[in-house]
Symmetry: C2
Subunit: 221 residues, 2 copies
């Protein structure tokens, strides 16, 4: 697991990202690939959450993970440690991935065997929300130390996500974090958002996230 493949992704050439995203989504559905776009602030626990979740479901689905970062390959190495296919995407300083960039990663990731592809987007609550990656579903992690007011300040991210995981629930007692207030703020932005409190560290709630994935993958078939 010392080496993971690093892809230097290039700026997209498509005129309309929305059109390219719809095209990619349709192609993935055709191929039977469910693509989850996972977003959050830096350090909210995307990689740790994925590791815990993959351990639960890796015997049920063929999984591939794309780790997007401006630099480093620490996350792809961490995911590769679970035994699933993991590649690192370097964005060349860019703050988000669009559909064309996601496609570049998928071309390396999918060898005809992946059923669940996961894109761990660049840690950023602003820009990734503005670019449809072509994902089947969008999910995000908000962690307890960030505070329950974040949906007030980063409206679009919460509006476009089908699922919001509230991570680091194990340290809730050490922060001024109000879960009910947080729920209210999220649902104000997106009344249809599914909200699951979790702790990637203790494993709390990871089974519910796994259930959500199972159900959504089934619906997509």
């Amino acid at each position: 697991m010392d080496q993971v493949k690093i892809i230097e992704i290039k700026r997209s050439v498509y005129e309309s990202n929305d059109r390219e995203a719809d095209r990619l989504r349709a192609e993935l559905k055709e191929k039977g690939v469910f693509l989850l776009n996972l977003m959050s602030s830096p350090g909210s626990g995307k990689t740790t959450t994925l590791k815990k979740t993959i351990e639960l479901i890796k015997d049920e689905f063929r999984i591939g993970v794309m780790e997007a970062d401006i630099d480093s390959d620490v996350d792809a190495k961490a995911i590769a440690g679970t035994g699933v296919k993991a590649i690192q995407l370097h964005t060349g300083g860019m703050c988000h991935l669009d559909a064309g960039m996601t496609r570049q990663g998928l071309d390396e990731l999918i060898d005809g065997e992946i059923e669940l592809a996961i894109l761990e987007n660049v840690g950023n609550l602003v820009c990734p929300a503005e670019f449809d990656t072509g994902a089947t579903k969008n999910a995000m992690i908000l962690s307890v130390p960030e505070g329950h007011d974040k949906p007030l300040k980063y409206p679009l991210m919460f509006t476009i996500c089908d699922l919001v995981l509230i991570n680091k629930m194990d340290v809730c007692g050490y922060f001024d974090f109000d879960l009910e207030e947080c729920r209210k703020n999220i649902l104000m932005r997106n009344p249809n958002a599914k909200i699951i409190p979790i702790s990637a560290k203790t494993g709390e709630g990871i089974d519910r996230f796994a259930d959500w994935l199972r159900e959504e993958i089934k619906k997509n078939r």
Copy 2:
């Protein structure tokens, strides 16, 4: 303190942001204004740190604060509670401020009396690092729950900051956070960075941040 002024800032029209930033920096120096650009991820504790610091130095300097957010005015209200001048800048969905946008805020903030102007930038470790705001100094907050590996993933932010505050040291025991590893990672990106561990909650280290500000303001006169 129920109402704070909200400025809807517009996209800048300057051809070269770097040139406009240098011009703004020179003008501010001429006027005797020290401008601090404070950056971080969402929820790292920028506003709480500023509140605690302002309490220590508000009798020494005339202070004005610009709170940049995509939406809401909760931060400007919190700062206004300390008694200093605070305005809210709405970025219209934009993920950063450049020099022209900062100037729009300063035009509202400075009434000929401000000696220390603080820009609390949009919570984002990527884009704000790419745009020189014209600030006298750049500072950032990395908080313990985000992890000590962040300088590996967000190189530019750590490279351009004169000061890195490591916040939420009070919860260090609950996270896998290695302060020495963090220092090493920061100094790899910027050997000249000043690093101060703090806790905005308990007040630990805030005196050292205040000392840094006093010294830098003196040097700028």
